[in-house]
């Protein structure tokens, strides 16, 4: 019996999900629990398992398509079974959810499945394929897609008037690998005719270009204007290597997760006036305690201690656990600590909820679980939203000090650097201690310097207070 594979609902906040990759192709056998596709939300890349066993009969929503949760994306059944005729374009499935809408100006899905960064591609690519001849047929890469809802989202901003060219002129322009939109038409109504293309080539010294046959063919295929290459080739003629260099230098869309990071951090850094306060914490005794605890069987991380110390400090300074837009201030009712985790594709910030109510052992287990699942791409979106304060620990990366950008929705972030042995003056004696710098970034709209200093020193005090840890572990 044919069963519909629906996009799972991943949490309260996610309404649309983008299909990144189908791990199974039509005709492949699928076991129950086997991963069949990879999806991407605003927060992370996830894998989707099949609830059924059978053969993948049909893929309704292809790679690169964004669909609402609960939408049918594929069918699984026995080979040869009839599949209901569901076209993605007729379902509301392909419409952009509100989340995606906000990304509107930046991306749109293209037929080959990759979001194209429109503004930049137009600016940099010598021959922007999507701008060429909407009437010309196969050149209209992406300006009209099967997803009807996308049509309105893209308006060529360059020339509102209709671009008109004769078929022969277009053929010549294509074969010559030049951008015909640069040509002034002399035909009726400004239509470009073949002679216009010839005159244009002549006037721009096209015949003086030396191009290898394959390079010309490749340029035509890749939509590269050969005239833009005059004098820019590495040798004395334009070769395949020159074309490949240009193709490799073309802007490529950032991964969805990177685009999200870019948007959120730019927003934060431009809206919230950041200022930075640094302290040095003496971690000698905490390190000794960690070593003892490890010998006893639990390998606590420095982050575990920082989370607890920060949660205690946030209880003392509730204003830091609030957020402001410059006009109002909203206090968070719980202390939910985000832990920045670096993945290959970008940063994710899993959240330890109610960190102030957890024991150190509970924090350790929670952090260990979240970090491991973040690394394997198995965090649920709900586990990565609505933190109230964030900790970014680069201690493993051998850095002396750094500053972090505040996570949107919060007012401060703590950047934790590496511990290192240093000569330190204690009781007027120079002694060797392991010191670690911590830098707090604060939103000055809400937090003043004195508050930041008191808050940060509170974290340090808790962190260095060895009797506290002996009590809590």
């Amino acid at each position: 019996m044919v069963k519909a594979v629906t996009m799972p609902k991943l949490g309260q906040s996610e309404e649309t999900v983008k299909i990144v990759k189908w791990r199974k192709q039509v005709g492949d056998a699928v076991a129950k629990g086997e991963i069949i596709l990879e999806i991407e939300t605003d927060k992370a890349v996830l894998e989707v398992e099949s609830f059924f066993a059978g053969t993948l009969l049909k893929v309704v929503a292809g790679e690169g398509v964004t669909v609402p949760v609960q939408t049918t994306v594929a069918f699984i059944g026995d080979p040869g079974e009839a599949v209901p005729d569901v076209a993605p374009s007729t379902t509301p499935a392909a419409t952009h959810g509100p989340k995606h809408e906000s990304m509107g100006p930046l991306t749109r899905p293209s037929p080959d499945g990759h979001p194209l960064p429109l503004e930049r591609e137009k600016g940099l690519s010598p021959l922007p394929a999507e701008r060429v001849v909407p009437s010309g047929g196969d050149r209209v890469r992406g300006s009209v897609t099967s997803q009807s809802s996308n049509e309105g989202s893209f308006q060529p901003s360059a020339s509102p008037e209709v671009f008109r060219i004769s078929p022969r002129a277009l053929k010549l322009a294509k074969e010559s690998a030049i951008d015909p939109t640069q040509i002034a038409g002399t035909g009726p109504g400004g239509r470009i005719v073949e002679r216009d293309v010839r005159d244009y080539l002549e006037a721009h010294g096209y015949n003086r270009l030396r191009i290898t046959p394959t390079a010309k063919k490749l340029a035509a295929r890749e939509g590269i204007d050969l005239l833009s290459l005059a004098g820019k080739a590495n040798g004395n003629q334009i070769t395949v290597a020159d074309i490949e260099r240009i193709v490799s230098e073309r802007p490529k869309p950032l991964a969805h997760i990177r685009q999200i990071i870019a948007r959120r951090l730019t927003e934060s850094y431009t809206h919230a006036p950041h200022f930075f306060v640094t302290v040095s914490a003496d971690i000698t005794e905490v390190e000794a305690l960690r070593a003892t605890l490890k010998a006893q069987g639990t390998a606590y991380t420095v982050s575990d201690f920082i989370v607890k110390a920060a949660a205690m400090a946030l209880e003392e300074f509730p204003i830091v656990n609030s957020v402001s837009d410059g006009e109002a201030v909203r206090a968070h009712s719980s202390i939910d600590l985000g832990l920045a985790v670096a993945l290959e594709q970008g940063l994710v910030v899993p959240v330890i909820r109610h960190a102030n109510e957890l024991t150190l052992a509970e924090i350790h287990l929670r952090a260990q679980d979240l970090t491991a699942r973040a690394r394997s791409g198995r965090l649920m979106p709900d586990e990565m939203t609505c933190s109230t304060f964030t900790i970014s620990n680069m201690g493993m990366l051998d850095v002396e000090n750094f500053t972090a950008i505040i996570n949107p929705g919060e007012s401060a972030i703590l950047a934790v650097s590496s511990g290192a042995k240093q000569p330190v003056v204690k009781n007027d004696q120079v002694v060797v201690r392991t010191m670690m710098k911590m830098t707090l970034s604060s939103d000055h709209r809400l937090i003043d310097g004195a508050l930041a200093a008191r808050f940060l020193n509170s974290i340090r005090k808790h962190f260095e207070e060895i009797s506290l840890w002996q009590r809590l572990t």
Binding site: T212, P213, T214, A215, K217, L218, R221, T239, V240
Partner: protein, 465 residues
Amino acid sequence: MAAFDLVVIGAGPGGYPAAIRAAQMGASVAIVEKEELGGTCLNWGCIPTKTLIASSELLERIKSAESMGLRVSGASFDYAAMADRKDQVVQKLRNGVKQLLKANGVTVFQGCASYQTRNRIQVESNGASALLTAGKSIIATGTASAMPGFLPRHERIVESRGFLRLRALPATTLILGGGIIGCEFACMLAQLGVKVTMVELLEDIIATIDADVRRELRRHMEKDLGIRILTGVTLEEIAADDRGVRGRAGQETLEADLLLVALGRRPVLDGLKLENAGLAPNARGFLDVDAYDRTRVATVYAVGDITGGPLLAHLATSQGIVAAENACGSYLHKNETVVPNCIFTTPEIGTVGLSEQEAQQQGRKIKTGKYLFGALGKALAIGEPHGFVKWVADAETDQLLGAHAVGPHATDIIAEAGVAIRAELTASDLAHTIHAHPTLAEAWMEAAHALIGEPIHSAPPRKPS
């Protein structure tokens, strides 16, 4: 102390063209050679072997003359006379190099070079020594046949250079190593009536070339020339005495009058005292160079076999010219993307560019087009209808990336393919280039027709019914 802008060490096909080019650019140039001008290629490699092969192939052709309506009886050979001719050819070319160096004002030093510092080179010869100061230097010392330690030292066990000193042929020969050198000697000896057995450790002979080309060569060597080829086995317990050489291959004991060792070549850097110039060979014993043929010492360049690339005279020459230009202030990128490789077996093999097996290793999508000499008028007319040519092209653009020929004059006709690949022609450009009829080179055009699916003189591609 003599001072030069450039000192070239080694006067082989890498070194002497470098010296000439630098002199032409106005530099004062010295070249140091410890043996003979022309190096391995001219004295103990390409030239002497091709001279002998020309004789053995002519004999082979004469023996089969009857198939072409000729009656020749009593065809035989005098190996000593063949060897004399070889020496004359070598002598003539060697003199040519000497004249060229002289005409270009290059000072030739006979002796062994060693670095004292990166800019001071000592030349020693029979106790006499000279000290040269060198603004820059080019190392072009090349390679020599490898003679691994497990081989006994005996006059019946020789490598290629030792073989070329012989004045008479053995009746039977064992060849250790089925690479290019081993196969060339095997074909020549078999044509001169020597009973040849070849032992190769790998699963096939000349493993670097495509399997279909290899198959064609091996079939001819075994079936027509009667060479016994043992692959995938090692030759062990090698011994030699006055009566002959012996070795065990698997269960079998092989015996012959002579063992020819063709196990590859080793870098020659002995006595050069590289460390005084701040240089050291890499793990394989060769010198690493960058895209401008510079070693890691700014004033020292290296070219040819010693840089660890393919062991080809024409590649060494190309590198030598680039290094010379760069040593004289140019900034040339070396060009090694399209290097033809010619194998003078019977049948001959010529290859250039990408092979099918390389494309497979790179995961690159390709198309191929093949044409058999058996279907080509000229090949039939000259009585050599064996082998084929093959193009390898990019699957999407049809760009010609590689060419492989096995058959009559394969080493000559490969030149066209090299030009086509270097010029980045597509298969259709080549297919639509008029080739003279009747010639062997037509095969390239026919193969290009086949590649683009428009064959005229071969069966059309099967259409799905």
